[in-house]
Symmetry: C2
């Protein structure tokens, strides 16, 4: 396996033609030259992924690339932004500076980027002991969706299903080895862990409908609390309404505390958003138009105390509490 120089790496894998008016000049000068669209706001997010913490080196290079870009695109999705360009900085151990590792990494990166019209406009490559990937994404929107717009009376919605990545992680660690999942259920949990799909199209479809939005990266409970705090409101979530995949239902039937996965698992990269009750059908239609399932899971209330409160109930309205390990009746 031949090690590539920085120049060869960039030339072979990253300096690809860009054909969007947003990127007037991409890789090759001291800076990229971008042309923001008049009247739009620019949304920017950055996430760094480190070996050992966000992935292990037994992860396939195509998974690592997809996840690194997807978690950034998910931040744009949460703001309802249209992806425009991204910048990739990569600290690469010398044993990975090979065609064998870089070819699938770059192919996966460009494939996801192209899907959303997000051009690789620049970056940096450096040698490091541990693999480190830092991506900065830029998107545009006429009116960004923020965490701070939720109003009392709004419904709380979430896209897709929750807890799958947490189940996938547990399986990867060798837990639940007696769990009787079908091949497709197993593949689903692993796919959600390793190659999450950013809800970019849903975020755009929710412009003008949702009053607030956040992406679920650290678990629904924690991310919803961020939203409630930013909006200065309370919320009640019906735990029986939380959308779960067939894989998670099998795990639940086997006695696994899937509620903890769904509420605190992390890495779901679904959109958690609020919208007026009057917009219920419009939300369903918007989500259907981009082929994403959305589920109403609760409601927003006036902030009753000085701190935003997140409460849980079951489908009969009985309260639930977090017991330190998972959520249960009290």
């Amino acid at each position: 396996m031949t090690q590539l120089s920085e120049f060869e790496m960039i030339k072979r894998y990253f300096d690809t033609p860009v054909s969007t008016p947003f990127v007037a000049l991409g890789i090759g000068d001291d800076c990229a030259v971008l042309t923001p669209t008049a009247g739009k706001q620019l949304l920017v997010s950055t996430d760094m992924l480190n070996e050992g913490r966000h992935f292990t080196l037994d992860a396939l290079p195509e998974w690592i690339a997809q996840k690194a870009l997807a978690v950034n695109l998910s931040d744009l999705a949460a703001c309802g932004a249209t992806p425009k360009a991204f910048f990739l900085s990569i600290g690469l151990p010398k044993e990975l500076a090979t065609d064998e590792w870089l070819a699938p990494f770059a192919q996966s990166l460009h494939s996801l980027a192209n899907k959303y019209g997000c051009a690789l406009a620049g970056g940096d490559t450096t040698r490091s002991e541990e693999l480190t990937i830092s991506i900065t994404v830029l998107g545009e929107s006429p009116a960004p969706l923020l965490r701070s717009g939720a109003k009392a009376g709004d419904m709380v919605w979430v896209s897709g299903t929750l807890g799958d990545a947490a189940l996938g992680l547990a399986l990867t660690k060798g837990e639940h080895h007696n769990l009787n999942l079908s091949d497709s259920q197993l593949a689903h949990a692993r796919q959600r862990l390793h190659t999450p799909s950013p809800r970019v199209k849903l975020g755009i479809a929710l412009r003008g409908l949702a009053t607030s939005c956040v992406d679920v990266s650290d678990g629904l409970a924690g991310d919803l609390l961020h939203l409630l705090k930013a909006s200065d409101v309370d919320a009640v979530i019906d735990v029986d309404a939380l959308p779960m995949s067939p894989a998670l239902r099998v795990a639940q039937d086997a006695g696994i505390d899937v509620m903890a996965y769904a509420l605190s698992g992390g890495d779901d990269y679904e959109l958690l958003f609020t919208a007026p009750a009057s917009a219920r059908q419009a939300v369903i239609d918007a989500a259907a138009s981009v082929g994403v399932a959305v589920t109403p899971i609760g409601s927003v209330a006036e902030c009753a105390t000085v701190l935003p409160a997140l409460q849980f109930c079951d489908d009969k309205g009985e309260p639930w509490l977090y017991n330190g390990k998972g959520y249960e009746h009290f």
Copy 2:
């Protein structure tokens, strides 16, 4: 030394008030919301610095912060852009997640950023084994200065002095321990290595005057070749005209090959630019208006072959050649 959580770190050191209309919303949501100025182009650059490669952990935290931001601002300077905002991703070993390390790091970072009105608009903090800092800077310009505009007949200029950081690095490694530098000369070489000053104001002052520009980060010879290639021109550089500090002159008198430091040393972060001969006085005046010395060091010629050629001569016009270790007469 108490280790800080990610939340505490951000709150205490990075979530500082931002007061620029460019940053409509900074840290706290999924994305930063920026408002690009109508009619301006957006310049973006990103650089990653890794422990071991770009600095060692015996470097002071304030040096590391200054260098990480300065190398990025230097890319904006090379494009004549006004710095607007930056994003910081930091992979932090747990022993550095302390007030003792973060306070001087953040103080130095904000100090340099404030000097140029560049707001910290977002970022990411993560735990890692090795210290890794990835910064993305955004700036604006009505007409960016690029590497590609040099024309035959232009003069080649460089700001400040060359080779100081390379001398500083050699001294840090224990080389030249018999060199008789004054305290201020020693301090100068170390300052140039550890806390480079980006030539932001010079870049802006050169708008409409310079025909091309690049920052000298990898050594004058290599960076000039990038510029020549982008502009499809040749150049002849007078090695006797290369600006050197008193520290470098002392080293030269002691027999050290300072020409190699000046031409291939790297980490100078000066601006290397071209301008029409007719703009000579205007260039001198523009540089003087921002308090930076600039020196004419050569001239641009038509590309004589299929590849851009960089030639060296002395002040009598006699040719010089690089011999693999340094540059000398042939």
